[in-house]
Structures are given as C-alpha cells and as structure tokens.
C-alpha cells in the first residue's frame, strides 16, 4: 500500500472500530447473564451497525478514495436485501426449528468469509497469503459443515458412519495442507495458483461435508458450537487482510467463546474434542452381564395417579421431546399438576437435545418459566427426595452405566441420577437403544415403569387422565 496522509476521517474510523469491538465484548458479557442478556444482544448489534456505517462513510482505499456513487448503491442494496431476508426468516420461523436456523445463519457467515478470502487472494496488493488461505479454508469448512448440520437437524440427512470415514477425512485434511503449502511456495506460477485456489476451495468444502457427516445425535451440540467458532476465526482471518481491528477482535472473540462452549459440551459428555471428531460411540458396552430385570409397563391411569398424588415431580426432557414437538402438552401437564399442589421441576442435562441449550429454548417456547429448569448438578442431590421422575425421550443422559460400568462407552459421563428417585416413568417409543446404542439398565430397575408411545400421544393421554381424576 502507498503511504497516504492520514486524515481525521481515518482516525475517527479507527476509533469507531475500537468502540465497535468494545461493544461486542460488552454485548457478549451481558449475554452471559439472564437478566442482561437481551440488552447485551442489542449492544452487540449496535456495535455492528456502527462499524458498518463507519466503513461506508469513512473507509478509503489504497489511493485515498472513499466509497461513493454506484458502489454505495450496490452495497446498500445488498445489505438491505440480506438484512430483510434474515430478519423475516428469523421472525417467521417456528421456534422448534431453531437449531437448524442457527446452523443456517452460521453457514452464511462462513460463506461470506470464504468469498472475501477468495476475492482477496487474487488481489495483488494483498500480501497476507497465509491468512487469506486460512480464512478461505476455515470459512468453507464452516459453510459446508453447517449446511450438513442444517440438513441433519432438519431431518434431510442421516448420519453416515464407517471406520473408513476417519481415514478419508484425514486424507482430505492432508490434501488441504498440501494445497496450502503449494500456494504459499514462491515458485508456483500465478496462473496455476488461480487454479489451485479453486481446487483448495473445493477440497475444503468437501472436508466440511465429510467431517460433519459421521457425527450426529448427542454429539451435535459439540459440532454446532465448533462450527460457530470456525466462522468467528474465519472472519478474524479476513480481518488480518484488512488490518481491521474490529474484525480481528470480534472474530477471535467469537472463536474463543465458541471454543469454550464446545469444550463445555465435551466435558458434559466426559469425552475429548478429538474423540468426538474422530471416534464414535462403540455401541455394545455389554461388559458386565447384569441380571436384566423385567420391563414393567404402566398404564396412563396409573401414571396419572402416581403423578397427581406426589409432592415432588421432576421431568427429564431429551431429544425425543423435541422430535415429537411435545413441549406444549408437556407444559400443560406441568400446569395441571402444579394446580393440584405438585411441585414440578425440569432437569436439564447440558447435552440434551441437538444444540447447546436446546431444551431451554424448547421449553421456553411452551411458556415454561426458566426458574423451573434446573441444571444437572443442582438437581441431582434432590433426586432421592423426588417422588416421580418422568423421562421424556431421553436415554443416555439417564443411563446409570455411566456411573458404575467402567466397560461402558459412556462411563464417566455425568448423568442425571434419576435411578435414585422413588419412582421413574420412562416415556419411550419402544425398547430401542439410544443414540449411543448402549443398553440402559434404568429400564429394568425395580422402581422404573415404562410408558410406550410417542411423547406427544403419551403426554396427551396423561393430561386427559389427570383431568379426569
């Protein structure tokens, strides 16, 4: 870049970027506490608008020209279109489609980063080749990976897993590294670099697909927050190209926050991140040949009586509740019981559902006050005093094998200790195993009763019975 006289505008713009970056930090900080969360979101949004307006008005290119005329019209048009579509989709979509939507928005952010990096690669003034390529690779992986996650959450794509995938993925990843090195070598002619960069784009996109493809079920929250983190990092890489502090700081901050959430999710499963990405649950896990008791079913009438005449009830929701869209009827049952003097709480496992905090959003949509949603560590000590636990569409997060069977693949994972409660009602579609394909001895316990059927139908029957009492 040429040496230009620094104008007041340049200084003001840098100052604006500083303020924006601070607004991002303050915004996320406020977002991490329930009372200030909504304000935090607005602050971060204000930071974004400020940075955008500042750039539009004050940014100057290498020869000192600001953005004007036709370019400005094109930009405003694109922003208006993208913003309008984003706002409408975000307003209209059903709350139950939230995990998909978050993935979709993440994909679009990744795509934007990849595109910016792609264009900048062919810009001769851009000297930061390495970060440009990293931005391209990470952005592309975030894009295609999030699209696959979107498809999975939306039910369009099934998990495909074979031991092979691990090796294929490593191979593709090696391909990415080789391409980046080739592009970095000074000896490579410019024409072939233009071709290579498109190949790199393609390979990175393929990697995103093949990396998310085998991961599913209970591991989804980990992948989603990991991809989220990638998008932030990709944006930061683009920030390096422009030496733009707001982009660097915002991007890295989001990347770090996403990474923490990812590790938090891993911790909730007692698995390492590498293990989630490469390994899969081994299934089986029949290390100890335990005496299987008999499975005891419960009728809707008996279950209704049990619930209605207890003093403390805990509901453990899982992905099954989300799939059956049974959150409203669940909330109705909760209200009926509360009206009859039963104390009802919800026990939320950190990885219940398909994205971090999935159950909280789902139940909030059904008007369940968030004070009733209790985290695992807080509710576990209360379990022995609980009269009835209702497990709705959850399996691995209540499997006692995690506590006492060292041969079990989920051994060591913190669980909700429902087996310590006086009575357990498990709502399940059938005797199928959970995502981890591990036998759950909870179902054979003396104090466990099974209530087969889809969560929605079962809850509907219960509500009818409770009303009839």
């Amino acid at each position: 870049m040429d040496v230009l006289n620094i104008t007041n505008g340049d200084i003001i713009l840098e100052f604006i970027y500083l303020v924006s970056a601070l607004l991002f930090v303050v915004g996320l900080k406020l977002l991490s506490s329930p009372d200030s969360a909504r304000r935090g979101n607005l602050w971060a949004f204000a930071g974004m608008i400020l940075a955008m307006i500042g750039t539009l008005v004050l940014h100057r290119d290498g020869v000192g020209n600001t953005i004007k005329g036709a370019n400005l019209v094109i930009i405003l048009g694109a922003i208006a279109a993208g913003g309008l579509v984003g706002a409408i989709v975000a307003r209209r979509i059903k709350m139950t489609a939230m995990p998909q939507l978050v993935s979709f928005f993440n994909a679009s952010g990744g795509a934007a980063s990849a595109l910016v990096a792609l264009i900048e690669f062919s810009n001769p003034d851009n000297e930061s080749t390495l970060v440009t390529l990293l931005g391209l690779v990470i952005g592309s992986i975030a894009f295609s990976g999030s699209m696959i996650a979107y498809g999975k959450l939306n039910g369009n794509i099934k998990d495909i897993f074979s031991k092979w995938m691990t090796y294929i993925n490593l191979l593709i990843l090696a391909g990415v590294v080789v391409l980046v090195v080739l592009l970095m070598l000074p000896g490579t002619p410019v024409e072939s670099k233009q071709l290579l960069v498109y190949i790199l784009l393609a390979v990175a996109l393929v990697y995103g697909v093949s990396f998310v493809m085998p991961i599913g079920g209970a591991d989804m929250p980990v992948v989603i927050s990991l991809l989220n983190s990638f998008t932030g990092i990709a944006a930061a890489m683009a920030g390096f190209i422009y030496q733009n502090q707001a982009m660097i700081l915002g991007g890295i901050f989001v990347g770090a926050a996403g990474m923490i959430l990812t590790l938090l999710m891993c911790k909730a499963m007692n698995r390492s991140l590498i293990n989630v990405i490469i390994g899969s649950f081994g299934g089986g896990g029949a290390g100890i040949d335990r005496e299987k008791g008999t499975v005891k079913e419960v009728s809707a009438t008996d279950a209704a009586v049990m619930l209605n005449y207890s003093s403390k009830v805990v509901i453990v929701p899982g992905y099954g509740l989300a799939v059956a869209q049974a959150q409203h009827i669940c909330s109705e049952m909760d209200e009926l019981l509360e009206a009859n003097g039963v104390e009802v709480k919800y026990a939320i496992h950190p990885v219940a559902g398909r994205m971090p905090g999935h159950m909280n959003v789902l139940l909030a949509e059904a008007d369940v006050p968030y004070e009733k949603l209790v985290e695992m560590d807080e509710i576990n000590p209360d379990m022995p005093k609980t009269d009835v636990v209702v497990v709705i569409g959850a399996n691995d997060v209540v499997n006692p094998a995690a506590l006492d069977d060292p041969s079990s693949p989920i051994y060591g994972m913190p669980i909700i200790k429902v087996h310590e409660a006086k009575n357990v009602i498990v709502m399940k579609r059938g005797m199928g195993k959970g995502y981890a394909a591990i036998e759950n001895y909870l179902f054979y316990n003396e104090n466990t009763r099974m209530f087969f059927g889809s969560a929605k139908d079962s809850l509907q029957k219960l509500v009818t019975e409770i009303k009839a009492l």
Partner: protein, 109 residues
C-alpha cells in the same frame, strides 16, 4: 517457515491482541448458565457476521468502470454475494437471538 516468521513480525500487534482476546473470551464466557447456551451461541454467531465489513470494503472499492477487465466482474459478483450472506448472518442472528431472549423474559412472572 520464513514467511511464517515474517508474518508473525508484521502482525505482532495483532497477534498480541489475539492472545489477549482469547483470554478475554475465556473470562467473559465461562460460567454461563445452560439456559443461555443457545442465545449466547446465536448472538456470538451474529457477531461473526462482522465479515460484512470486508464485503463493504471489497464492493465499495470495486472498479465499476472497467468491469470487463480481468476478474473485476467476477469479483464484484462474489463480493455482492459475500455482502448478502454476511448481512443475512448479522440480521438473522441478532433478530433470532432477540426473539429467544424475549421468550425467556416474558415468562418471568
């Protein structure tokens, strides 16, 4: 290898910022109640849409008079797409986060 070292030297301030930002991120986000995991994730996601600044710079300084030259036209089109995707991410992300938080709010009776 040399280019990595050069990169480090050329961007030393930025790399300091990054190192500190990572710590800041750790401090700010740790101990988030699980109630807020989804809104936090989607709010952070919206912030990663900061890439639109890159899009604005690209399209803003695109040479509209010589579109037929080289890859100018292609770059302009790609830049517009980057802007579209970026704002989709930003607006969608913030609006959906606000909607989620609004839901949490009104239940507080």
């Amino acid at each position: 290898m040399e280019s990595i070292l050069q990169f480090f030297y050329a961007n030393k301030e930025a790399i300091f910022i990054i190192a500190l930002t990572i710590f800041l991120g750790l401090e700010v986000i740790s101990n988030v109640p699980s109630v807020l995991h989804t809104p936090l994730m989607s709010g952070a996601n919206a912030i990663s849409g900061v890439i639109i600044i890159g899009g604005i710079i690209l399209v803003g300084h695109a040479d509209l008079e010589n579109l037929t030259e080289g890859s100018n036209l292609l770059n302009l089109v790609l830049g517009i797409f980057a802007l579209l995707f970026g704002t989709l991410n930003v607006m969608g992300g913030f609006v959906v986060t606000d909607r989620m938080l609004e839901m949490f709010k009104k239940k507080k009776k």
